[in-house]
Point group: none
Chain length 129, copies 4
DNA sequence: GTGGTCTAGACCACC
DNA sequence: GTGGTCTAGACCACA
């Protein structure tokens, strides 16, 4: 897997795990890959994966069973969704709308672009084994 | 003025200047504030402002007259618009649409939010003197 | 039974056994549950229970009869009491008092909280069968 | 400075900073030592100090000004106090009282010990320069 | 086997 | 100068 270089790797890994949870590939209560395993799979340092898991644990998306590993917590999906929703509504959208006004893009155009996007959509394969 | 802390300040300052140009507050050929003045106004290190002007100059949005200062170049508006448009269409929108699908936000909702945003819009005070 | 996650499980199990001894639920000479049984009861790896028993045996709180199991030793209560008393007076209390000063909690308040605690006390179900 | 080895160093450093804030040695808005400087002063790796600052920043006790360093945030004292108070009331005290019952220590004895502690108290010198 | 912590050292962007 | 991230490698306690 390749990472974007304009965002910290540990964030991208955390996001990857979140996506897998949202898509049901990692259901509630499921063990997620061990720090070492995921580090090998993603070709990064274990510390980096550890940091991802740390942030996810702080957000109570995953939890730790001593000596066993990390597991998807009960409300993981909900926590991720509400978090994303917050930042989307409070940060992303205002930015977007501000740019739209500056670029004089109408809402009609926006909808067109959205439908175009959906038409071209391809499935992705970032699955954590 | 307060800056977001997830983006480099010099970028935010450059964006601010661009906005002022797009909105016509800084028309073509106009002198923009000196590095020192803007640094004082924004409570920022002059080096940081200088770096903003540097990037704007590289993009040929402003130009320098030695000993006089920086001035808005002829096709500043056009350069900014096409640049913004590019990144908007190629980067921001795909990200946005991806999140919308994840959050199950329909285009109809999007339109509603846009109208809501426009209704609540407050006049903008990020004017460079 | 649920375990705190900021303390090793084998320590919590050892403490649990000690409590049962202090409260007389496991009188002197009594056989304590086999490693396997307690492991099943507590939903824990047998190695973990074994480690608890090991430390208790080292402190001569329990002893082993080969092929029969572990038994509460003669002066188990006394050993536990003096050990606990030591760590309580030398470690816990100083920490506690230091925090009390920081939080500006008076001894009068402390007494109140103690009485409140006693009033709300619920019977204890951490019994080892 | 020497660290206890039963608690992570980065936690002890965070606690140290908190104490300095509570005692007014680091007033609101004040710059705290740079990561590197404190690392040298405490003879630890900069990463370790960084981790301390990270947790403090997450708890909004300190904040970062890009390129300048970390500063004590406005409600730092309050945040620390309420946090400590919570863990004290919800965790430390119940543990304490439970042990008191097991050890058959009365509240009168507790008060005596508290007064004794106050009498022997010595000032401490963990000041961050 | 699992995570958790720490060190040493590097590189980078930013102010 | 500041923080932020990452790697490599080590050691430890725990299950």
């Amino acid at each position: 897997m390749k990472f974007k270089d304009n965002e910290a790797i540990y964030i991208q890994i955390a996001d990857l795990v979140c996506e897998n949870i949202l898509e049901g590939k990692l259901p509630m209560g499921e063990k997620i890959p061990s720090v070492r395993d995921l580090a090998i799979q993603l070709q990064v340092n274990p510390n980096t994966v550890m940091r991802s898991y740390d942030t996810l644990q702080n957000r109570e998306i995953i939890f730790n069973k001593r000596g066993l590993g990390f597991f998807v917590s009960e409300n993981a999906q909900q926590i991720i969704r509400t978090g994303k929703r917050q930042s989307f509504l409070k940060i992303r959208l205002p930015e977007l709308f501000k740019e739209m006004k500056l670029l004089e893009i109408s809402s009609a155009e926006l909808i067109n672009l959205y439908q175009e996007y959906n038409a071209n959509l391809k499935p992705n394969h970032n699955e954590i084994q």
